[in-house]
């Protein structure tokens, strides 16, 4: 037993492991950079870095296995920490090296936490419009809302992941009826009623509203930066007495075609049903006062993009104007709003909304590494200078 631990400790504290891991890290970054042309930034992050194993593909087929970012980073972290515990001695002479290593450890931990905690959303606001929610890039949700109240909608949001398996959905008693998933497609085109090979007729997926008259083609999912998947699902609602209320085809494409959400009446209330981009609601709102798109005089070359927004919290604690522009985001309640894009003839701004509780860690770790190196080299320099002085005739 003791021998086994000795071997383990020797393995995890060895400098060879560090070198191998750093080399693997270089290979991983190189292969992932090549893969980015096909998969986009987000796809590569998920497929190469936020995973234990990566499977690089050549024309769609995996060709070999690489240790993923979590495995390389995690082993490097254990390697560094155990080297500190078993090989290094905590002495004043080596304090700089210790500090620099602490910085690297913090950097690795920070990257892990970012991967686990970071949420990316986008908020697109028209000039004069007020928004208190942002929308996800990739995630979708089935929103079932009681829209009877003239001022508020009571929304129950079911994440897309729960729709992937057919059967009864557990809505935790939040709805007066049961939701049964009949079918799910992660990315699908919605077509008119015309039948053609490969199309699934809507009549086999829905018997209520628009879906029954349309048809659907499943298509390959995308992870590219500028495209989105448009999922579709066939959903049956069953009343408390076991009687069916009907089956609906839901998809973001279908809602846009129709220009309205699909609605139905149940229990004397009106309900809306839609599969939409997942939303995150906030207890403050942003109103776009002005979006500016400045060009260098006499050219079409963009000089600056900026959004002047009014930030207003629900409780009235905050009410101020903020200018968001390149590299100067708005930070509020743990969220960061970056100027990301624009649309609609400069009438709409698109802000990237990021929640990352560990965003300060990379800054702290860089300071630690820089400070550590300064101390270490400074001490060597001082020692060298004083030795030279004493050696001088």
């Amino acid at each position: 037993m003791r021998d086994f631990w000795q071997i383990l400790v020797k393995f995890f504290t060895s400098l060879r492991l560090t070198v191998v891991l750093l080399a693997l890290g270089i290979v991983l970054v190189f292969v992932a950079t090549l893969a980015q042309t096909d998969m986009g930034v987000w796809g590569v992050q998920q497929g190469y870095f936020h995973t234990f194993f990566a499977f690089p593909k050549w024309h769609g087929t995996p060709v070999f296995i690489l240790p993923g970012g979590y495995l390389v980073g995690g082993l490097l972290l254990i390697n560094l920490i155990s080297a500190h515990l078993y090989r290094f001695r905590l002495t004043w002479k080596k304090i700089g090296i210790q500090l620099a290593h602490a910085g690297v450890i913090l950097l690795l931990v920070g990257e892990l936490l970012s991967g686990l905690w970071q949420e990316d959303y986008q908020m697109s606001i028209d000039t004069g419009q007020t928004k208190n929610f942002a929308e996800s890039y990739r995630k979708h949700e089935l929103a079932i809302a009681d829209v009877s109240d003239p001022q508020f909608d009571a929304v129950v949001a079911i994440p897309e992941q729960l729709l992937t398996r057919p059967g009864n959905l557990d809505t935790q008693g939040k709805l007066p009826f049961r939701v049964v998933v009949k079918g799910y497609w992660p990315n699908a085109d919605i077509h008119g009623p015309m039948m053609a090979p490969g199309l699934i007729p809507g009549a086999s997926l829905a018997n209520r509203d628009l879906g029954a008259t349309l048809s659907l083609t499943p298509v390959a999912t995308t992870t590219q930066d500028n495209t989105r998947n448009s999922p579709a699902a066939s959903v049956e609602l069953v009343g408390p007495d076991g009687g069916t209320l009907g089956t609906w085809l839901v998809s973001p494409t279908l809602d846009l075609f129709a220009g309205r959400p699909q609605t139905f009446d149940f229990g004397g209330r009106t309900w809306a049903l839609s599969l939409r981009v997942a939303r995150a609601y906030y207890d403050f709102s942003l109103t776009l006062r002005k979006f500016s798109h400045d060009l260098y005089p006499g050219t079409d070359i963009p000089k600056n993009y900026s959004s002047l927004v009014q930030l207003k919290s629900a409780g009235g604690l905050a009410d101020r104007d903020v200018l968001i522009y390149m590299n100067t985001p708005l930070r509020h309640e743990g969220l960061t709003f970056y100027q990301a894009s624009f649309a609609n003839n400069d009438q709409t701004t698109i802000l990237q909304v990021v929640r990352n509780p560990s965003w300060t860690l990379p800054y702290v770790s860089c300071l630690l590494v820089a400070g550590g190196l300064l101390v270490q080299f400074g001490m060597s320099l001082l020692g060298f200078v004083s030795r030279r002085k004493s050696a001088a005739p």
């Binding site: 254990i78 829209v147 039948m195 989105r228 448009s230 846009l256 075609f257 609601y281 390149m326 970056y338």
Partner: protein, 204 residues
Amino acid sequence: MPSIRPLLLLSAAFVIGLAAGCRKAEVTSYRAPKEAPRAAAPAVAGPSSPSMPSAMASTPMPTASGADLKWTVPANWESKPASAMRKATFVIKGDGGAEAELAISALNGDGGGEQSNLVRWRGQLGLPEISPAEVAAGVTRFEAGGLKMVVADYANDKATPPRLLAAIVPVGDATWFFKLTGPAALLEREKPAFLAFLKTIKAP
């Protein structure tokens, strides 16, 4: 020699941290103020691309709501009620119960683009893939009533329906689609009428 325990503890903390960090998908409920209806479709932007988002095949597009076009149809074309997705639908009856359908729809912007619509239609008819240049060369282009029209005529005996005769017409900031599908013989008979019909189309 320090004990092995810190190493073990750290490894365990790493694994537990990973497990705890993975959030579970949960059903949520909340009250949200009603939204004012929006005219424009939400644009799709890359996470960090400071450029204009472009229309992609996977991006949903709303039916255009601009002013309608005016046209004259032959007497044998039967009008059917318009639906949410369609501006108009006509049914053309042939011999022996044969039936062709003309679907007219309009989408905002370029409606996904001429090229991708032509490729999609070829795909629907099960036609082999050809190069973009060949797709572009295989259509007829003309101008009528001040509108630029692109007409495609695709056929495949094995497909249902076996023939498609379609026109793509950009009007203002929308794109109109005139899609006639049905049996090959019936479409052959109606092709002159369809082309004549296209020439009657007028923007408001």
